[in-house]
Symmetry: C2
Subunit: 452 residues, 2 copies
C-alpha cells in the first residue's frame, strides 16, 4: 500500500468514536459552526452569491443553511462554506493555520440529499466523520506548516478540500476514498494574497466544493488512481517546502480536535490578532494608560513570521483590518468595540490611522516561550509615553484558544445571538447533542430547514 492508501485504510477502518471528551469537542465545533453561519446569513455578499445560485439553477437537494432553501450539492457547499467563514468568526486550528470547520462541516452537510431522505445517516457516524476531517487537515498542516502558510498558501482551502473529502467518504463509506483524496488534492489552490477581500471567505466555500466535486465525479465513474502523497509529485512534495514528514503512527489514539483542540472566536478578526486584542484591552485598563500620552508603540512577535497572517500594517479599509495587528490594537487602545461593524468594507477613520502610524513591528525579542504556548508563539506590546514611561503587556494564550477557552455559557450565548431566540437555540443545542446518541442526520437537517 502506498501512503495515500494507508491513510485511506486507517480512515475507512476507524470505528465510530464514543469517547466523551472527543464527542464534546465535536459538539462544541458544530455548535460554533451554526453560530457563525447563522450570524452571517444576512450579509450582503452572501445574498449576492445566493442570487448567482438562483440564476445558475440546478436540482434542489442540499441545504443552504439559514436560507430556508435547497440547491445543488456544489452550490450548497460553496454558499455554506462562504457563509460560515464570511465574518472570520469561525474556529481555527493551530496545526492547520486555518479554519477547519467552515470547510468540513459545510461539505458534510452539503453532501446530504434532503430531497430523498429514505437513506438514514447515524448522527454518531457524522460526528466521527467530522473528527476525521479535522484530523486529516491537522496532520497535513503539521506536515508542511509553517512553511506552507508562510510561502503564501491559504491553508483553509489548500488543506480543507482534502480533509472534507476524507470526511464525506467516511460518512458514506466510499470505497474510492484514496482516489477521492487525489482528486481533491489536484484541486487544491488558494493564496493568502486574497486576505482582506471577500475571496478569503469564498476560499472556504471553494474547498467544500472541491470535496463535493471529488466525491461526485468519482461516483460518476471518472478514475483518479494515483497516490496523492507520492513523495516526488504528490501534494506534500509540491505544496510543502521540502518538509514533508507525514506521521500516521498516532492514528486513532489521540485526536487533533482534542489536542491541541479547536480555537473558538468571539470576534471577527484573524486569530493571529487575538494576542494583540487581549494585550490592547489589558493595556487600556492599566491605571497609567492614556492614549493621549502615547509616543510610540512596538509590537514584538515571536517567533519571527508569526505575524504572517497580519499582512496589513497600514490598512485603508476596515475589512483589511481583520488582518492588521495595528488596526486591532488601535481599536482597543481607543476603547472602541471589536464589533462586526468595525471590520466592514468602509474606510478607516483618521483618528485610528494616526494611532496606527505610531506603531512598528519587531522580532528582536527572546523571552522563554510559555510551556503551553501554541507553536511557541507569544506577543509583547510595549507603549512608550511622551514622558519616557514604558507600559508592557505580554500575551501567550489568548482568550478563546484551547488552553484559555470560552465557557459553555459563552459558546451558547454566541449561538443565541446568531439564532435570535432562546427556545430555538435550546432545541438546536439539544438536537446537536442527540446526534451523539444516534439521531438521524437527515431528520436533524430537515427539522431545521425552515426553522433557521
Amino acid at each position: 500500500m502506498n501512503l495515500g492508501q494507508q491513510l485511506s485504510f486507517l480512515i475507512r477502518n476507524t470505528p465510530i468514536i464514543s469517547d466523551p471528551q472527543v464527542i464534546d469537542c465535536a459538539i462544541n465545533g458544530i455548535t460554533d459552526y451554526f453560530a457563525c453561519t447563522l450570524q452571517a446569513c444576512h450579509e450582503d455578499d452572501v445574498h449576492k452569491l445566493l442570487a448567482w445560485i438562483a440564476d445558475e439553477g440546478g436540482n434542489a437537494r442540499a441545504w443552504l443553511i439559514g436560507q430556508k432553501k435547497l440547491a445543488s450539492a456544489r452550490q450548497a457547499a460553496l454558499l455554506n462554506g462562504f457563509q460560515a467563514h464570511c465574518l472570520d468568526y469561525d474556529d481555527v486550528h493551530s496545526d492547520v493555520r486555518g479554519h477547519p470547520s467552515a470547510v468540513i462541516l459545510s461539505a458534510l452537510i452539503a453532501s446530504v440529499r434532503l430531497d430523498n431522505a429514505e437513506q438514514t445517516i447515524d448522527g454518531r457516524r457524522f460526528l466521527t466523520a467530522y473528527v476525521i476531517g479535522i484530523e486529516v487537515m491537522a496532520l497535513l498542516g503539521q506536515s508542511i506548516n509553517p512553511q506552507h502558510y508562510e510561502k503564501g498558501w491559504h491553508a483553509t482551502i489548500t488543506l480543507g478540500g482534502i480533509a472534507a473529502t476524507a470526511a464525506i467518504c467516511y460518512l458514506y463509506d466510499e470505497p474510492f476514498l484514496s482516489q477521492a483524496l487525489t482528486l481533491a488534492a489536484t484541486q487544491a489552490s488558494g493564496m493568502r494574497l486574497l486576505m482582506g477581500t471577500p475571496i478569503k471567505f469564498l476560499h472556504a466555500g471553494l474547498a467544500a466544493q472541491h470535496a463535493i466535486q471529488a466525491v461526485e465525479w468519482l461516483r460518476a465513474g471518472i478514475h483518479a488512481d494515483q497516490d496523492f502523497l507520492d513523495d516526488k509529485l504528490g501534494f506534500l512534495a509540491i505544496y510543502g517546502q521540502g518538509n514533508t514528514r507525514f506521521d500516521l503512527s498516532h492514528w486513532g489514539k489521540t485526536w487533533k480536535i482534542v489536542h491541541p483542540g479547536l480555537w473558538f472566536k468571539n470576534y471577527s478578526y484573524c486569530s493571529a490578532a487575538a494576542y494583540i486584542a487581549d494585550a490592547g484591552q489589558l493595556l487600556y485598563r492599566n491605571a497609567n494608560f492614556s492614549v493621549d500620552k502615547i509616543e510610540s508603540i512596538t509590537i514584538f512577535f515571536s517567533p519571527p513570521q508569526s505575524d504572517a497572517a497580519l499582512i496589513y500594517q497600514m490598512p485603508l479599509l476596515a475589512e483589511q483590518g481583520r488582518f492588521s495587528a495595528e488596526y486591532v490594537l488601535a481599536l482597543t487602545l481607543l476603547g472602541l468595540p471589536l464589533s462586526f461593524e468595525q471590520f466592514s468594507a468602509k474606510p478607516i477613520a483618521n483618528g485610528i490611522k494616526n494611532l496606527m502610524q505610531k506603531m512598528k513591528r519587531s522580532y528582536q525579542i527572546q523571552l522563554t516561550p510559555h510551556p503551553q504556548a501554541y507553536n511557541q508563539r507569544y506577543v509583547v506590546v510595549e507603549i512608550v509615553n511622551s514622558t519616557g514611561e514604558k507600559l508592557n503587556q505580554r500575551i501567550d494564550l489568548p482568550k478563546g484558544s484551547p488552553k484559555n477557552p470560552y465557557s459553555q455559557r459563552e459558546l451558547s450565548l454566541k449561538l443565541v445571538k446568531a439564532v435570535g431566540d432562546q427556545k430555538t437555540t435550546d432545541n438546536l443545542l439539544k438536537d446537536i447533542r442527540a446526534l451523539a446518541v444516534g439521531l438521524d442526520l437527515h431528520t436533524f437537517l430537515l427539522s431545521y430547514l425552515l426553522k433557521l
Copy 2:
C-alpha cells in the same frame, strides 16, 4: 498601476487584430479544436460526465459541443474542456508546456449564452480574445517554466484558468478584468501526478470552469481587489521557483500564437513523446533494423528534465503509455499503429513489455542543439543489436510542431475524420473563416448546436 493592472490595461486596450498571419493561426487553432472535441464526443468518460451534469441540473444556456444540448456555463466549460483534451489530441504550446486551446476555447464558447442571442458578438472580437488568451498563457509560462512544470505542476490548468479569464473578459470588455485575473489565479491548481489518469484531461475542464467562476462571481458583485502578480504573495511568487520575470514589453507587437506558434497533433500521446515516435518510425524503416536483433536501447534526452512529462518508464496500462517514451517507442519499433485504441484503459501486452525492458534513458549527451529547436530540446534513440551493431536516430523538430507543421490538407483531414462527413466539414471550415470577417458568434454557435 500594479503589474496586474498594467496587464489588464494592455489587454483591454488591444484593438481587434486583422493581421492575416495572426488570423490564420487563430483559424487553424479553432479548426483543430473542433476536430479534437468532436473526435472525443462519444468517449465513455465524456458520457459519464454528461450523466453527472444531467443529474446536477441547471439552467440550459451554454453549448455542450457535439452533444446537441445546452447546460450551465460552468458545466459546459467543464465538459467542453474535458472533451477537447480527453484524447490528448489537442494543441500544445512550448512556452506553456501544456494545452492552451482546450482550455481557452472551451471557456470562451461556454461563456456565450445561447438561450438569449439578442446580444451580438463580433467574430473578429472572438478571434482576438482567443489570441489574447494564448498570449497570457504563454507569457505566464515563459515567466515560470521550465521550473514550474518540472516541480510537478500541470501547466494546462494552472495557467489555463487565468488565460481563459483574460480571453472572456476581453470578449465582453469587462471592467473588472484585473480582479477576475486574481480570482482565477487563486483557483489555480493541478498536479502532473494525475497524468495517465482521466483527471489529466479533466484539468482542462476545471481550468475553463475556473475562468467561468471568476467572471460570474465578479459579475455577481463579489470583489477580489488584489494584484495577482504581486511580487511577494502573488501567482508567480508562489507557483514559480524564484524565476519570475514577467515581460510585457512586446505586448501587441508579436503574438505567441504565431511565434513560436501552436503545435498540432495527429496522435494521442504527449507531445514530448513525439520526438520518440518520429525516431522510432524512422528506425523501423532503416534497412538494418530488425526488432529481433535488439540487445538494448538508449533514449537520450537533452536537456535533462526534458522528459519530465514522460513519467512512466514501465507503464502497466495503455493509457499511461501516453506519457511513456518507452511505450511509444516500443509501438513504433514493433510496427504497431499509434492509434487511439493503443492508448485506452487496457493492460499492455507482454510483447510490448518485453521490448520496453530493453530500454533505458540517458541524459549524458552534449550535441549542439538545432538552431530552431524548441527550448533547445532534441532526442537521440540508439539501438544496439546483438551483433554489436549500432543504429542511431536524432529528432529535433517533430512532425506537427510549428517548424515542421502539418499541411492545411492534413488539418482538414483531421476535422473530416472527427465530423464524419465532408459537407458539414466544408461548411464548418467556411464559417470558422467567416468569423474573421465579423460573423456573429451566437449565429455561428447556434447554427451548429444541432448539426455537430
